[in-house]
Symmetry: C2
Subunit: 462 residues, 2 copies
């Protein structure tokens, strides 16, 4: 049996009663964290455009799956996953699985929720599907590895396996059909980084389409479409075409199903509303400022010692001069200098702090110039197993402070509490101008008892 | 202006009155050739599965776009393009643009027809959109080049630009929106060769999805979604991620719009029902057998001197021993030995000759073993500008004959006549068990006067 086949067989055989209790609880936590993100991104033009596409092409109004921010738009599962997947990756607050560099929630939950609503699955089946989706997407992400990540938007290219796995579970595909779904998912895997250059909307297209493709893969597998058996390791498969370095083959099956190995236990919440690669440095700066009572004006310069991938991604808004000229809110979340400027000024970097007005704020633009990044060899060697940072702050009075951050807030070991998850969700609801906060908060209560829910309907809010 | 921008601007500005008469006539020829292919593939399980997906997810029955082989299934443009795009790539008789190694018809026509039916476009608008689609897909294919083709199914990865261009024309997108559509198309480009290993259904998934994605790209661009501006040549674009060698940048814009340069003039019909890489050798064998009055039993061995890509593709059914054991009709069309065996036995290799029974025919299996391939340096040097072959036949009596084929039947310079196109279509209709041949043949008459048609409806047949 190939490793891909072993993974497909495991996904197909997984049952709710197999799941350790912490895995069930963590799935609920990440689902609520995702739900807020999906509602929070509703006004983004990419979401509006894909919602229009779903209305043009799908059964607008007459489907069983909900577009979460638009109760009137009930559509088929593929289109609901498309729109919710686009929306949940807008505000940059969805989770990240560090060792794979995959954002699993934004692909797995939209697909699982849409299919669960379409087939009338209960909470237990939904939780099981989500666990399977996390497992598949994160393991494929680890398999594809850093050399793939340099070229491709991993969340999409690995994520499509997560959507396929979740949909396959809910459709009760057997092992052979699930393997077919993986084959079809893999041969459609796509997503280039070029959007970082001009701050365009492909990021949301990638998450939207990965959910759609995963559902396509599972539904067509059920209907008899044969996907190739060894799409990952085969001689003309993903690794051969899309992994310039060596794939991590063992990652596909190592400790599969071991209680402490479930991927969903190892995902990270995003506490700051910026690119995940800024979080270690943001925590470090905040710690130094708190420990030494510094204000933004006390700081002359900041050096962030990071792994190379951070510079690869965060440096991609253009050349040095252009980097100073941020033109969109999205770009500003991917600019280390700007993110640390927000941290220095507000003591946080929440979704309410990145605005068009902020792009013009002279305090922030001035602080931005004081920040630079350097690769640290030790930190680089530990990446992506650890997303560490060391921050050196030199004050206007000439003193230098240093703070090493091994684990950023939100990471495994520093996961958010349910109270913090709810607080973060309420903050997002405020940002998204949710008018019916009671309906929104009712979802909190449903999610905390999700394994007892008989269906997943009625989650849309306005 | 980047080259991608120049191409988008040209696509957006193209008008029917700009088109040279031969371009209009050739578009009609290739459209009819494609139409027969789309009807001919209707029973393939991948088509059945994707049709089921379209019914599950789309407005089954209430759309404006036709699934050509199923008059009752009128759906939205994206799903009609999906199913027709899958169907038209099943019987391996759709056209090929040699210098790009793209099969443009199977992506461009499904997308253009589906959108034309959805927006109520007339024949002239449809023809213009198809010309734009051929131009975009073939030029992008030439841009991506042979090193990309080794890793990716070019018809899909370049084809998505053709679907996007055709849809953009019919939606009357401006140059900026068309560029956005290209950006969205490119960041979704996908398609691995792994399906050749186990004869699975990804080939049809690729053509189906490329049409779907192109429509997605154009409709969402109209709705405000921003695609990245330089998706082909940008530092994190397609060339950077998916072209291991050097892309052919000039191909994107060289002689754009020059009367003799239109891509559709340079596409090739497929006369034999097998992989295009077998055609030169098939013609050569046929010529030798006709010239010297040979029968299959007179032939002891056949050596086909070809370009390397032919061996790369045709050798991919497995290792040497397994190659003898063809298990599917699809595999048999990609096996040089088997294809030449069919030619030797029947004097042709039509869609009626590749069957499950043929796979068990001892005559064919015996002849198959007498065929081998070798790379010819001169032929390799001319590829992909020329798809040449030289065939050496040694008879049982020890005489050796050689035939060089510079231009295969169906290629530019040896294009099919309208009579031959109709004959080929009738043969496909027989294969597909079309019951209402009068409706089928009425389409011939509509296509030959396509520029005078006020709409594209009513082309489905049973």
């Amino acid at each position: 049996m190939s490793r891909t086949q072993q993974l497909a067989t495991w996904v197909s055989a997984l049952r709710y009663n197999d799941l350790p209790r912490p895995v069930v609880e963590k799935t609920k936590d990440f689902f609520l964290d995702w739900y807020a993100c999906a509602v929070g991104g509703r006004r983004h033009p990419a979401v509006v455009a894909m919602s229009a596409f779903a209305r043009d092409m799908g059964p607008a109004g007459s489907g069983k799956s909900e577009v979460l921010h638009d109760p009137a738009h009930k559509t088929s599962s593929a289109f609901a996953a498309l729109v919710n997947g686009a929306a949940s990756h807008v505000i940059e607050l969805d989770d990240l699985h560090n060792s794979s560099v995959v954002h699993p929630a934004t692909i797995v939950f939209p697909a699982a929720l849409a299919v669960a609503q379409e087939v009338g699955a209960d909470g237990k089946a939904f939780i099981t599907a989500c666990v399977a989706g996390y497992e598949a997407s994160c393991r494929v992400g680890e398999f594809l590895g850093p050399s793939h990540y340099k070229k491709f938007h991993m969340t999409a290219t690995a994520g499509v396996f997560g959507a396929a796995a979740a949909a396959a579970q809910l459709l009760r595909l057997d092992d052979r059909q699930t393997l077919s779904a993986f084959g079809t998912a893999g041969t459609q895997a796509a997503g280039l980084w070029q959007f970082l250059i001009d701050a365009t909307h492909a990021k949301q297209v990638h998450t939207a389409k990965a959910g759609f493709e995963g559902i396509f893969a599972a539904y067509t597998a059920r209907a008899g479409l044969l996907g190739t058996a060894d799409v990952l390791e085969g001689v003309s498969g993903m690794a051969a075409a899309m992994v310039p370095g060596a794939p991590n083959a063992e990652a596909l099956t190592r400790n599969l199903g071991a209680p402490a190995s479930y991927a969903i236990l190892h995902s990270s919440y995003k506490w700051h509303a910026s690119c995940r690669h800024t979080h270690g440095s943001a925590d470090g700066l905040l710690q130094i400022m708190q420990d030494h009572g510094l204000k933004a004006d006390d700081i002359k310069s900041v050096v962030c010692y990071v792994y190379r991938a951070a510079i690869d991604v965060l440096g991609r808004t253009g050349d040095d001069e252009k980097e100073e000229n941020l033109t969109t809110v999205h770009q500003s979340k991917f600019n280390m200098g700007f993110v640390l400027a927000v941290i220095a000024k507000y003591g946080r970097a929440s979704v309410l702090d990145f605005t068009d007005e902020a792009l013009q704020d002279p305090d922030l633009l001035d602080f931005q110039k004081r920040v630079r990044m350097e690769v640290d060899d030790k930190i680089e060697a530990d990446f992506p197993a650890k997303w560490q940072a060391r921050v050196e702050v030199t004050t206007t009075s000439g003193v230098t402070f240093s703070q090493f951050v091994e684990v950023a807030k939100g990471d495994p070991g520093r996961h958010l509490t349910r109270q913090e998850i709810e607080d973060k969700a309420r903050c997002i609801a405020e940002y998204a101008c949710i008018t019916d906060l009671r309906a929104f908060e009712e979802t909190f209560r449903r999610v905390w008892r999700l394994e007892n829910e008989t269906d997943l309907g009625g989650l849309a809010c306005v």
